[in-house]
Amino acid sequence: MDLLRIATAGSVDDGKSTLIGRLLFDSKSLDDDVLAAVEDASRRHHGDYVNLALVTDGLRAEREQGITIDVAYRYFSTETRKFILADTPGHVQYTRNMVTGASTAEVALVIVDARNGVVEQSRRHAVIASLLGIDHIIVCVNKMDLVGYDESVYEAIQAEFAELMAEIGVRDLTTIPMSALHGDNVVEPSANMSWYNSEPLLRLLEQVPVRQGLDDLPLRLPVQYVVRPHRAEHHDYRGYAGSIASGVLRVGQRVSILPSGHESVVTAIEAPWGLVEEASAPDAVTVRIADDLDITRGEMFCAVDDPPQTTQEIEAVVCWMDDRSALRRGDIYRIKHTTRSAKAMVTGINARFSIVSLCGEPDVNSLDLNEIGQVSLKISVPLACDDYRRNRVSGSFILINEATNATVAAGMIGEPQFSFARSER
């Protein structure tokens, strides 16, 4: 059994919560007492049918207002796979929540109401998923029951999405017609859409490749913590603990340690399950090396022949997440990149991107809550980093406001996944 992380976004109207409720219910991940509570609440609130949205809206305010406010995590599994689903609200004011959910996901579910076609919200979800580097997008064309299970309606939406995907550089697009309310093509195939000749959603989710290509990338292992037992039987022991971001680490391998620039040879690798000859992402390991070097948290073990760039000046795509302040040129923040913390000064805001029109407005003065743009940063220390499009761990960072301690931005080093057209001001 392996593990797949999924992100979804949507509002009550397009049936997202119903779809999730259906996935949980039909994969038998929803317990009877939870279902009974939902049935009871459905009767009190609405009446007609079981409102599966009530399963996922965990906060009192969400249930009262009938909206999803925050990211919720859901778990379900089949014989072959465990799924972690980050469920986020879909409105524009929750862009930061969508970014949060998408940051760790390998698949995005974009939900479209068959009656409305590709609306702004579904476009936005797809664009955010693409910007966050999600390779696989599954478009669920929901509420097919309300358009009479009409194949031509589905085909029109499919064509429109294919066009958008080409524009935003998504590698793997799948579309699927369904009715979450009635369970068509969620877990069970649909008897109402014999013209659809692929599989229901859950079967497709079981087939998405996990962590594709990570082992083929060059080694990146940020040092989190130096283990020094200070005990007689481990007198000279010094181990470097961290999680492998990419590549394969082997005993006997020569590694460079950046940004300090040391080199050494790996003498032992301890995985959580014992000493091993090799390890790969996402293993949390402890490494010992042949030389007695001064290596601290924030350094990174890297492939000698393919190192990251070491730089104090970066360009990055950022999503601004703070509701109490805006990002402005000249501001200084705390940056956390892998396990390294430093200061970062905003030296330029090169563009503000519209994720609806796919245009970029050059040289703007600020980025406000939920806005996405490209910035130049000067860092107080050198960072060993990769382009986000190549490596989601060594290419990502957060900015922290030092006065409030709030996480104010999510950043991706390098150019965006696809190019935005330049807009005139």
Binding site: D32, G58, L59, V227, T339, E402
Partner: protein, 310 residues
């Protein structure tokens, strides 16, 4: 150079457990590296036993560089306290106990009358007092998001203010594996390394890693009586009321809280593997089946967490 290879008991069917394990170790190591005074909440229950096991792995071969903290409600099952003391002794851990009985005796908190009244709410002030006294800046807990729908919304790093309160509307975005551990004086972080584990994941891990648990997690004979459809253990704290009859049943515990609020389930499962088989067939949630404290209202857990609960 010696390369002693410990055979990894890695089975293809448990790849997901290894990913979860690595994620948990990553979180624990972030805290140990970034916080000056961590502590680990240890109730002696299965989730905290798994959490402790992971914490030991995260710093191996060093000793645990922080204490384990137990909030003793005074209504604990004796088997849990014995397990706690056995574990502390075997691993040479530093144990800190916050006692609800002591807080009542000294008049710091008021106890509601009646032996069988739940002390669930009384844990919160004692927990906060213990965190303050120990000056802990980060406190590990074994909560899981699959337990309850308010927990499904909580971050791995859950910021608490001076009063220990959780503000669900004002949580920090948690992107990638970049955790923001910045706090102001007086605040502390609750950290939940096994957030993404389910009940079944925990049991499969216990089976694979042969993690010791209190014996009451496995089938045993016990004198119980039925109350509100739940099997409550007979004890000095819990006596049958009018019309409730005591009988000896073969039971085990799915969750373990106070004797006054935790129910047993009828079961013949005597090993972790038996429990896994039973859990797979189970159609009722663990808290719904066994926790009287979560039954009071729709939002019982959210309300308690807002007040500073685990």
């Amino acid at each position: 150079m010696t390369t002693e290879i410990i055979s990894p008991h890695l089975r293809p069917e448990s790849k997901h457990l290894r990913d979860l394990e690595s994620e948990s170790l990553h979180i624990i190591r972030e805290v140990v590296a970034e916080f000056d005074r961590p502590g680990l909440l240890f109730s002696g229950g299965k989730d905290s036993a798994v959490l402790l096991h992971l914490a030991l792995k995260a710093v191996r071969p060093a000793h645990l560089p922080f204490p384990i903290v137990h909030i003793d409600t005074g209504h604990n099952f004796p088997e849990l306290l014995a397990f706690r003391d056995r574990t502390v002794g075997r691993l040479g851990l530093d144990l800190v106990v916050g006692s609800v009985d002591d807080a009542i005796a000294s008049g710091r908190i008021l106890a509601p009358a009646g032996a069988d009244i739940s002390r669930n709410r009384l844990q919160t002030p004692v927990l906060l007092e213990t965190i303050l006294k120990g000056r802990y800046t980060a406190v590990f807990g074994g909560a899981r998001r699959d337990e309850e729908r308010a927990r499904a919304k909580e971050r791995v790093y859950s910021l608490r203010d001076e009063f220990g309160q959780w503000d669900p509307r004002n949580q920090r975005p948690e992107v990638w594996n970049l955790y923001n551990g910045c706090i102001n004086p007086g605040q502390h972080m609750r950290v939940f390394p096994i957030s993404n584990w389910t009940e079944l994941d925990v049991w499969r891990y216990i089976a694979e890693e042969q993690i010791e648990l209190p014996e009451i997690y496995y089938a045993h004979e016990r004198q119980v009586f039925e109350r509100d459809g739940m099997l409550m253990a007979l004890s000095s704290l819990m006596q049958p009321g009018h019309g409730e009859t005591v009988g000896t049943r073969t039971v085990r515990y799915r969750t373990v809280g106070d004797m006054t609020s935790t129910a047993a389930v009828a079961s013949e499962a005597r090993t972790p593997e038996d429990v896994i088989t039973e859990t797979l067939a189970m159609r009722i949630s663990e808290r719904g089946e066994t926790r009287a404290d979560d039954r009071s209202t729709d939002a019982a857990m959210e309300d308690r967490k807002r007040e500073g609960y685990f």
